[in-house]
Amino acid sequence: MAIFSVPNIQVKGVSAAVPKQVEDNKDFELLTENERALFISTVGIRYRRVAPTGLTASDLCQSAAEKLLADLNWNREDVKILVFITQTPDYIIPNTSSLLQHKLGLSKNCIAFDVNLGCSGYVYGLSIVGSLLQNMPGGKALLLVGDISTTTISMQDKSTAPLFSDAGTATALEFSAGSEIHFNIQTDGKEFDDIIIPGGAYRNGFNEKQLAYTEYAKGISRNDLHMKLDGIKIFNFGLREVAPNIETLLSEKNIEKEDIDYFVFHQANLLMLESIRKKLKVASEKVPYSLHDYGNTSSATIPLTMVANLNGELKSGKLKLLLSGFGVGLSWGSAYLETENIICPQLIEI
């Protein structure tokens, strides 16, 4: 396990943006009425936000960042780092972070790069940005995390279509002597194809055959440019790996579980998250869920849940937070951090 601490870093603000367009899983035609009810009560997802054509993950992140920068009253010249974590970039080439650096009016003296990660991306992003920023006294950074996963799924695939939703988020971090964030990050590439879009990149370069739909089971049809998700394997992965990862971090860093105010999980599946919560023996009021209203927004679920569910407390108090992301890669990790009176604008709808 990669257990480490990043000193002298503080989160100063978090914001999030979602598309206005709402899809209701009660209307999802590939499931029967009983199946829809069972899906909503078990997986926990009722509504999903869907980006219209032309609205990208970077657009959502840009809106979140503009609002955050304005509310922080930061001088944009002071932002020295921009990291964009997404699996749905604007282009294959170039890196979308360069476009965002320009659109946000940041200085040319700014590190900007993309990171291809999904469910674990927010925890990773905090560790990457924090590691860079700790060597820049006085420095400020933006971590932009978001995806438009609805563009990657087949609407004829009941194993993915009712799960995914779109969002973009922005997190402001600053050099701050004395503060510290702790991490435990893990990877298992052996299971890389449990969540995969097999075609369209460079291992299986695009060809017309990849557009042909295959019916894998009743209600599960997709082509090779769509996301495939092995639900049972991912469910077992979550049950097996997440709680030990968190327990190890807390134990290694001598953090008392009882002292943590909130455990903010990647919003994958209510049944899985409740199983993890029970394994950790954490009270339900300490585990906020946003997936009923916003679905699985991939890398964005953790900051989106912070904005949607913990907005008031983040703005006006001290919080001890345990964040945990897990999924595609397979990649998973947890982070422990403390916040105090951070900037947290209301959720933006575009």
Binding site: N34, E35, L38, T42, K233, L239, L271, S275
Partner: protein, 86 residues
């Protein structure tokens, strides 16, 4: 014939497993669950029920079962045997 203690114990375990299995379901009546029940043929069985049963076995028995295990187990009793063998 009076069952031996171990045989009785195993039967009780199976009975408990069938009950816990049945508790995962919402629409199928309790009378529909017996050790010999071919669960994949139940009208209520589907992908959601698969996750619920996997979650139950993980939480109550501390065992992980795969999609292959569920395909290989035709009845609740045979699923119980697979769980016990892990």
């Amino acid at each position: 014939m009076i069952p031996t203690f171990s045989k009785l114990h195993v039967n009780m375990e199976l009975e408990d497993f069938v009950k816990r299995f049945a508790d995962c379901f919402h629409q199928t009546p309790l009378s529909g669950f017996k050790p010999e029940t071919e669960f994949a043929k139940l009208e209520e069985w589907g992908s959601m029920m698969t996750l619920i049963v996997i979650g139950m076995i993980d939480a109550d028995f501390g065992k992980t079962i795969t999609s292959d295990d569920l395909k290989n187990a035709t009845t609740i009793a045979s699923l119980f045997e697979i769980v016990k063998s892990k």
